[in-house]
Amino acid sequence: MANRVYQRIYTKLEAITKATVSVRATGASNDELAIVAGRLAQVVRTKGDIVTMQVFSGTEGIPTDAEVVFMGEPPMIKVGDQLSGRFFNAYGKPIDGGPEPEGEPREIGGPSVNPYKRRKPSQLIPTGIAGIDLNNTIVSGQKIPFFADPDQPYNQVIADVAMRADVDKIILGGMGLSNDDYLFFRKSFESAGALDKIICFVNTTEDPTVERLLIPDTALTAAEYFAVDKNEKVLVLLTDMTLYCDALSIVSNRMDQIPSKDSMPGSLYSDLAKIYEKAVQLPSGGSITIIAVTTLNDGDITHAIPDNTGYITEGQLFLRADSDSGKVIIDPFRSLSRLKQNVQGKKTREDHSQIMNAGVRLYADAQNAKTKLENGFDLSDYDHRCLAYAKEYATKLLAIDVNISIDEMLDTAWTLFAKYFSKAETGIKQALIDKYWKEN
């Protein structure tokens, strides 16, 4: 931090908690940054001349006579083309050994886009994964999380999605990433040769928890620079938002706020919405798409974090281990992309939405057959065909290791239908059957 001509310095702390310190001071502004005993802090409350700050790296070892220096400005990040290909910590400082990037300083967590100036999201983002492209198509300007139990390979999946997506910039916001996962992202981006379009802001499990709170806003401020100023298509990856929420609850708890459901702060919905609503399709052609990860506790989506997330985001993608195929699949029942109808059949082949519906419906019939089997009832011929279809459908289309074009996905589905079912059993419109049915 550069020294300034005029800095207000205080040396007597009035109170210290695990996450905050209070000092008697005048002239502090809301959200302003300060340095407390050499650590970065932010003003969160003023009451008379008592100023309370949250210390991002924790307050361990801070003495009551610590030096407090107010910076006179909110958290900033320098934005510019030099960000490309670089790795930063939560404060925007390089962690890849490179020099500090030059650029224009911008406040993080800035204003929202006027809803009237938005455009309807309508550009397809293909990922090669049929569980997404075929059943839950993602559109630029959308915000969608993966809901996954901690044992699912969600970070690998979003890395795959990022590399295959046809976008100008990929910005990773890593919160509470294990060091192994951080290195995994770094290695996959480097080996894909995609480094020039990638920017990472990372808080690992080795860094202080509260620092995570800066990550989404920092990543999205950088994203806004490329989307708004440069008219680029930007994809933002945020993982893991559950760990971000944990940090929120810690701070609110230390500030004596009354918790609401699941000991989360009452403002959780607004806090998350401020982040996710940065996803936008701009009239100039630039866009921000957010793909996030929300880890679940044993698939429980009624917990406050996934619940509030689901009300904000435009759908969710569920990862599940499938016992039939032995693969991790994108669950077709619980996953949903709310914007898929903006592109299906419009930017993709005409049979897309009918194929999607028929495929999932027949897969549901297989689940019913499975229940019958488990309950000891006899299976009909149709039930047996459904079960065989389900296994192949999961392997060839739902599994996350699939990487084919959307036309290939549709053709694969037609082949499976013809292999296991009669034309009438698929319930697809006659005109499409006439055109695409694959005779064995």
């Binding site: 502004s29 809301n30 809803p115 459901k261 919405a273």
Partner: protein, 584 residues
């Protein structure tokens, strides 16, 4: 002289101000942040300290900042030009704002001051008038927009002068009124009104006695909502709350629709902006946008203004109701409004009620629902506000404070069911749990018998009974297995499935099926109930299932076709033949 003050405490958007004079609850003040005025509202006063909620981000605000109090509550401007507009929660016109981002402290005019309106006087010189009486009218798109004596005027006035027919802007004086003391007051085409106060310039508020058509079968037939009635739609995410509300907005038989997008997704509002200017109102043949006002305070916009947005929307409805019009207010979602209340209550360190919501949540919600209703105006005409709100219960659990409080206030309950949504049975309105209290009103029953069909109410009960019996049969089948129950159980179950697939389910994205007018609902209900009242013979349960699947398919095809058209009758003919072959 205005009361002033200075900031002495800040937590997020709750600011404490030391004041030098009188302030009132809910008074508006502006906080000066280096030349930018931040609009705020007083929510608590204690000694010479006022707690105010700021409608903007407070980043950079310092203790000591100057505050000026306005001596008025949060007001909006009412006048011609409200329709087709898109406002934020404080009635700033979002379309006329500069730049892509919302700038703090940027306030825009709600109405176009330059536009000329064709004014026709209705009152004459010498007429005695009171507040809300009609002085004249203008044409707002195709709607007749009354220019009224401002609602805030107290006592009787005499019209001293009124302008002749001609073109005027909203700011021009169109009449001069003399009050009881002989003072003259000038009246223009606009007036201002504090949003948190109900407009009560009407003679009486009778019980609703007519059903509002929405074109959605599971609402109109099963649990109709009255014109001037209240209803709410709770449901977990992904169950189709917003889709159902948009369907109602497109099709409802109302003159004016106000949509309050309260703390929801911005892309959903974009969908309305993009589609409504092109969609046609089925009742008038005009563009939907011409009868629609959007008040949007999406989830990322400041929380305090979110609370204001529902009041702003309600006040606009009350204004149009005073012209003798039928208004429909849709709020999505009232839970976000309640959460805004919770955030503020939390920052003020009030003792919390259930789930940390403020303890007066229930009375705030019922007070708001009470502003809807049908009214008889002073001149004898009638107007109505029908209000339908959505509720987003945490975790989909209906035993939470917002749902419970709303249940006490609203008369119709449209429960969206996760299980139905999972099976793609849309609209996912539960036929078992939902209810409409209006169905018990003798006035509404009378209206239905007279305007829809004799014996209608009994038919609706029969329908609901069959759905219940089908559920019971399905439970038995699931326990005992397909072979473990008599075939008649399967028949009962499949009859309920028939009613579900052909009548309850409706394809909101199909141009024809999306809108089902009364005439068609009546015809289809008679058709399906007639089938279900017969008894059939089947050798085994598989035959029973296949037979019902076939007729379900035929009736669904009918739903997708123009009513009583050639194709429609073709499928109907096929249906009759199959019924002939098996049925007594």
């Amino acid at each position: 002289m205005k009361t002033t003050g200075k900031v002495i405490g800040i937590v997020s958007n709750l600011v404490t101000v030391q004041v030098d004079g009188p302030v009132s609850e809910n008074e508006i003040c502006y906080i000066d942040l280096d030349g930018t005025a931040l609009m705020s509202e007083v929510i608590k006063v204690s000694g010479d300290k006022a707690s105010v909620q700021v409608y903007e981000s407070t980043r950079g605000l310092k203790n000591g900042a100057k505050v000026e109090f306005e001596g008025r509550m949060l007001e909006i401007t009412l006048g011609p030009g409200l329709l087709s507009s898109v406002y934020d929660g404080l009635q700033n016109n979002l379309a006329t704002m500069d730049g892509v981002f919302l700038r703090r402290g940027e306030y825009t005019q709600p109405l176009d001051g330059a536009k000329l309106w064709d004014f026709t006087p209705l009152a004459s010189v010498g007429d005695k008038v009171i507040a809300a009486d009609w002085l004249g009218e203008v044409k707002e798109a195709w709607l007749v927009h009354k220019i009224m004596v401002p609602f805030s005027f107290k006592g009787e006035f005499t019209v001293k002068s009124i302008v002749p027919e001609g073109q005027y802007t909203i700011a021009q004086t169109i009449a001069v009124l003399t009050d009881e003391e002989g003072q003259d007051v000038e009246v223009s085409m606009t007036q201002r009104w504090p949003v948190k106060r109900a407009i009560r310039n009407y003679r009486e508020k009778p019980r609703p006695d007519k059903v509002m058509e929405t074109g959605v079968r599971c609402i109109d037939t099963l649990n109709p909502i009255a014109e001037g009635g209240t209803g709410f739609i709770p449901g977990p995410f992904g169950c189709g709350k917003t889709v159902l509300q948009h369907a109602i907005a497109r099709q409802a038989d109302a003159d004016v629709i106000v949509m309050a997008a309260c703390g929801e997704r911005a892309n959903e509002v974009v969908e309305i902006f993009t589609e409504f200017p092109e969609l046609i109102d089925p009742h008038t043949g005009r563009f939907l946008m011409e009868r629609t006002t959007i008040v949007c305070n999406t989830s990322n916009m400041p929380v305090a203004a979110r609370e204001a947005s529902v009041y702003t929307a309600m006040t606009i409805c009350e204004y149009y109701r005073s012209m003798g019009l039928k208004c429909l207010l849709l709020a999505d979602s009232t839970s976000r409004w309640a959460q805004a209340l919770r955030e503020m209550s939390n920052r003020m360190e009030e003792l919390p009620g259930a789930d940390a919501f403020p303890v007066d949540l229930s009375s705030i919600i019922s007070g708001f629902y009470a502003r809807a209703g049908k009214v008889v105006l002073n001149n004898g005409s009638t107007g109505a506000i029908t209000f339908i709100g959505t509720v987003s219960p945490a975790g989909g659990n209906l035993k939470e404070p917002v749902t419970e409080s709303t249940k006490k206030a609203a008369r119709c309950f449209y429960a969206l069911e996760q299980a139905r949504a999972d099976q793609k049975r849309y609209p996912a309105v539960s036929p078992m749990d939902s209810y409409s209290k209006y169905l018990e009103y003798p006035e509404i029953q009378g209206w239905l018998e007279e305007n829809v069909e004799k014996g209608w109410v009994d038919k609706v009960s029969t329908f609901k009974r069959m759905i219940r019996q089908g559920k019971e049969a399905s439970d038995q089948i699931n326990i005992l297995g397909d072979d473990g129950v008599p075939v008649s159980y399967h028949e009962t179950f499949w009859k309920a499935e028939l009613l579900d697939f052909t009548f309850l389910q409706q394809d909101g994205f199909d141009a024809i099926d999306a809108l089902c007018p009364w005439e068609r609902q009546r015809y289809m209900l008679d058709l399906v109930l007639d089938i279900c009242s017969r008894s059939f013979e089947f050798e085994d349960y598989e035959k029973c299932r296949n037979w019902f699947k076939e007729i379900i398919n035929l009736i669904r095809q009918m739903n997708y076709l123009p009513f009583k058209g050639e194709e429609f009758e073709k499928f109907h003919g096929q249906l009759e033949i199959i019924l002939e072959q098996n049925g007594k």
